[in-house]
Every structure is written in structure tokens, then in C-alpha cells.
Amino acid sequence: MSVLEVVELVKHFGPVRAVDGVSLHIDKGEVLGLVGESGSGKTTLGRCVTRLVPVTSGQVWVNGNDIAHLSRRRLRPLRRDFNIVFQDPSSSLDPRMRVGDIIAEPLRLHRIGDRSTRRARVAELLGQVGLQAEMARWYPHELSGGQRQRVSVARALSAAPSLLVADEPTSALDVSVQASVLNLIGRLQAELGFACLFVTHDLAAVEFLAQRVAVMYLGVLVEVATRDELFAGPRHPYTQALLSAAPLPDPVAQRSRQRIVLSGEVPSPVDPPPGCRFHPRCPVAIDRCAVEVPALRPVGPSGALTACHLVADDGSAPRLAA
């Protein structure tokens, strides 16, 4: 059964159509990578799923409860089922709280356990995220960026949620520290079995951590596939361009690649293009793309989803050349 089921989710900020009809699901124990560039709506989607912002329309089912339009009072007891790790641990931890209190806060809010069991739980969590027990008495400024992000992860997991949203959890960190946070999330996810929506622009991190990948462009999903299928043969022209643009850390491979350079830039989400939102930049667009919105539909034998008129039902897709 799905831990998270998002149905036709819409979130508008005034005229900005940040998320414009997204449906997806995440199963128990699964990591879904949500990739896209700035302005794609991926962060907003993560915030809608955790109800940090009100939802304009659509449904967000977490463990069988639609939380999209619940009042704060009705939502509160359900909040222990899901939590979020933010991008920048320096600004998402209260500098005046001790690490132990930060991690115990979800337990206090949900009235889980008493003081001594909470203290024991904090010690257990610190151990799980690879920090020493005495750090419970420290303040965030005494920790490095990577250690702070470990505290964020411990806080998010303290009430044992079944869904974790990780919003660019490694983007503010150095490469060597990124590796340790990715390892940590991967290990905890395997051990504890929570479902994870991993929001990032880092394709290498997604390939490392996610089992399935959803690609977002200008408020809508353009492709959803298993990691192996997506990275081996991206079908949507935008996915193809995105994958080809991310430089590989290998000079031989990188310099022998065919790169697809997109013309123009991501249009404004205030006034997205009609038809396929990618058509003004798409090298293979046809007349139909400018008028008819392509549905996100199953293509090929595996059940992968693509929203493109040029991808055939059998999954064959136009290959973009440089």
C-alpha cells in the first residue's frame, strides 16, 4: 500500500502556478526522487505534502488520511506520521535550543513518552545518526554543517514517521559531507523502512538514493520511471536534456558525450506556455505540442509514465542529438 498518494495537487501563490496538477505515490520503504530545476515546483510540492503551506486543490493521502484540507487542529495528531528535513541546517535549527531538546521536540508536541523515555530516545537517535550522546547538551553553533544536518534528520525521525520529505538535504554541504549525509539517509531508510520523498536537483544523489524518479518541469510531472530505466533511457526530451547537461566527474567520459543544449530558459510559472509546457524549448516539438496538453500516461512494458506526444505507447522515444 502507498504511504503517500498525491492526487491532482495544485498550489498557486497568487498568480504563480507553482504546482499545477501533480499526481504521484510512494510505497512503504521506497525512496522517490523528485528532480527538477529552480522554479519547477519541486520544493513547493514537498511543502504541500507536509502541509507547511496550504494546498490550493487536490488530495494528499498519508496512510489513508487526506490531509490536504484538514484544519490545523485535525491535522495536528496526524503530523507525527510525516516530517521534513530542510536544505540549510543552519537556519532550520533553533540556535537557542540544545540539540537534545531540538530532537525531542516532535516527541513533546505529540506527547510521546515522559522525560526519561524521551531522553533515552534522544540518545538512541543520536547514535543512529552517528553523533555522540553528549552532544545532546550542545547548541547548534557548536556543530559543523554536516553534524547539524544529522541533527535535522534525527529530529525528523524522532516520532518514527512513515514518510520523510528530504528537501535538498545535501545542497548546502561540501562534497565529502554530502556523501556522509546521503549514506546516513540511505542506511536509516533501509533500517527503519520509512517512505521518502527526496527532493533535489542533484541527479547523482538521486541515482544513488532513489528507487524511482519523478521529473518535474514548470509545475507538472513530465516523466516517472524506475531509477535504472530513467538513467539508462530517459524518454521525455526534457529529461534527456537534463541528464545530458549534468557534468560527469570523469574528464574522459564528460568530453566524449553528446550534450543537448536547450534554447531559452524556463518560462515564468505565472504564464506557462499552452500545450506542453516544454514545447518552446523542445528541439523536437511538433505543431500539436503547442496546442494539446500531453497526458502523463504509461508507456512501454514497465509502466513508466511520460507526458510527451512524441513518445509512442510502446515506449520508443525521439532521441535528441546535440
Binding site: 562534497v175 540511505g186 547537461a245 549534468a246 557534468p247 560527469l248 530558459e265
Partner: protein
């Protein structure tokens, strides 16, 4: 002969918490038309090195060492003209109340005494800005992040500098936009012969554009090599650690480098990486390693370089 020669560059800061040694006797060079990547994590001294080259350090910094451009010590004026700097954040480094054309024009006037609309349009074309005749009258907020960074580059190359120093020029940008900016930088080298010193932490960008790589750690240059050699034969354990930390498909667990970059107060007789290194010995903690050719033939600052006899 090298275009830029940096010898024993040392930068100290006086801070409220005491002195900080940000750059510790760094030496490297950049040849004409060469793209050199200066690589390392935050705190390794790469940005401070770049700011020292362009004389943009704050007042609490003291700089020692020699910087030579074409074999001579450049005057402050020559530095401003021949070495240009591109910042990471194009939004905060452009003036929001002046049009694009006006800002580029001011650079031309200051350094060349005159500016013309034709020359500004030519510069906008050089950095791949479509419809330059229209963009010239627009304000920074009307441009996307990628277009703003192109304007920054146009300003930087307005006076035909010999060397462009770019500090993380694509870090704030999306990958599809980054690809275009890297193409612009490559074109500048090919078309007007500008050398590039690229400060970056992104090994993908290094693999894409650099001819040669200088790796810094805790203020010291710890390894340098041609790009292919460095990726194929990393010799310093830190370089190896950086390369292994990048997520790679098929690797179940990523390699981590335990600990963090130390803040150096004063120069030390130890290897600055000793506390994080898995090959550390007593020698590393008591004798400062020198930058000398390792087993793969290129210089590394390590007593126990990789690739030799174990």
C-alpha cells in the same frame, strides 16, 4: 612562459577569535589560454586566493608572497585591467537600479576612457545574450539568473583581460543553464584568448572544462596535475577522498572523509590533512610534507602518496 605566476602566496586574517591563516605558501601558475581549476571544499582557501589575486581582500587581511603577470609584478591599475573577476552570485553583484548597458558602459569608461553602444552590444553578443539591442536597456531584475551571469561575464571581459578569475560562476545556476555558461567561458578562451582560473568545488565542472587542476586543502596546495592525470591517478589521499565522495551508480555506500577542514591559526609542521587521513603516520604529524612529484609523476604534498609501492 606562464601568464600568471603565484609564488608562496600567504594570506592571514586578523579576527576577533584570533589570527587565521587562510592561505599558506600557495604556489601555482596559469599559462596563456589555459583553464586552471582551483578545487577544494569550503575553508580550504580557494576563494581567498582568488580575491588576493584581484586585490579584493578586506582590510583585516595581510598578504605576502609574489604575484607576477607576464613576468612582472603588476601595478594595481594593471591588475584591475588585466585580471578580471566574476562573482558567484550575479544578482547581488549587479546594481539593481542601473540598466545592463549602463553597467557595462561604466567599466569601459573607467578602464578605456570611452564606451559606445556598438561595443556594448558586441560584448553582449560575445557572451551569447540573444537580442542584445533590446537587453542593453533592461534592468537586472528583468533577466534570468543565467542571463545575469552572462552580463557579469560581459562586464569582466569588457577590457579584454588576460586572465579571468571566476569564483564558482555556475554554482547558483541550474545544470541546463550551467552548461551554457561553461560554453561561454570556453568560447572566450577560444575567441579572445583569455586564460581562466576557475574556483569550484564541482568535480563535474572541472572534468568538463579544466586543462589543469590545483587542489587546495586547509590553505595549502596539496596536488596539481593535468585534468586527465588527476582524475586517473589522484595521488594525495584528500584528492582521492574528494573523487570517491561523489555519488556513483553501482556503489552501495559512498566513501566519506571523516572530520572537517581545520581552521589554521598559524602554519604548522604537520600535514594539515593528518587528522582525517587513513594513511597517517608519525612523520605526517611532525614534518611538513613538501609538494614534490609523486608516483604518478605530478606534484603532491604527501609523505605517503597513493599509487606507489604500498
Amino acid at each position: 612562459m606562464s601568464l600568471l605566476e603565484v609564488q608562496d602566496l600567504t594570506v592571514r586574517f586578523r579576527t576577533e577569535e584570533g589570527p587565521v591563516l587562510a592561505v599558506d605558501e600557495a604556489s601555482f601558475s596559469v599559462a596563456t589560454r589555459e583553464v586552471v581549476a582551483l578545487v577544494g571544499e569550503s575553508g580550504c582557501g580557494k576563494s581567498v586566493t582568488a580575491l588576493a589575486l584581484t586585490d579584493l581582500l578586506p582590510r583585516n587581511a595581510s598578504v605576502a608572497g609574489a604575484i607576477q603577470l607576464n613576468g612582472v609584478r603588476p601595478s594595481p591599475r594593471a591588475r584591475g585591467r588585466d585580471i578580471a573577476y566574476i562573482f558567484q552570485e550575479p544578482m547581488t553583484s549587479l546594481n539593481p537600479v542601473l540598466t545592463v548597458g549602463r553597467q557595462i558602459g561604466e567599466v569601459l569608461k573607467r578602464h578605456q576612457g570611452a564606451s559606445s553602444r556598438a561595443r556594448i552590444i558586441e560584448l553582449l553578443e560575445l557572451v551569447g545574450i540573444p537580442l542584445p539591442g533590446r537587453r542593453i536597456g533592461e534592468y537586472p531584475h528583468q533577466l534570468s539568473g543565467g542571463m545575469r551571469q552572462r552580463v557579469m561575464i560581459a562586464m569582466a571581459v569588457a577590457c579584454r583581460p588576460k586572465l579571468l578569475v571566476a569564483d564558482e560562476p555556475t554554482t547558483a545556476l541550474d545544470v541546463t543553464v550551467q552548461a551554457g555558461i561553461l560554453d561561454v567561458l570556453r568560447n572566450l578562451r577560444d575567441e579572445i584568448g583569455t586564460a581562466l582560473l576557475l574556483i569550484t568545488h564541482d568535480l563535474g565542472v572541472v572534468a568538463d572544462i579544466a586543462d589543469r587542476v590545483v587542489v587546495m586543502y586547509a590553505g595549502r596546495v596539496i596536488e596539481q596535475a593535468g585534468v586527465h592525470r588527476l582524475f586517473a591517478h589522484p595521488t594525495h589521499p584528500y584528492t582521492r577522498g574528494l573523487l570517491d565522495a561523489v555519488p556513483t551508480p553501482g556503489r552501495p555506500v559512498l566513501k566519506e572523509i571523516p572530520g572537517r577542514v581545520p581552521v589554521m591559526r598559524a602554519t604548522s609542521d604537520a600535514c594539515t590533512f593528518a587528522d582525517r587521513c587513513w594513511r597517517v603516520t608519525e612523520q605526517c604529524r611532525s614534518v611538513r610534507p613538501v609538494l614534490e612529484p609523486g608516483p604518478a609523476g605530478h606534484p603532491a604534498r604527501c609523505w605517503h602518496p597513493l599509487g606507489g609501492k604500498e
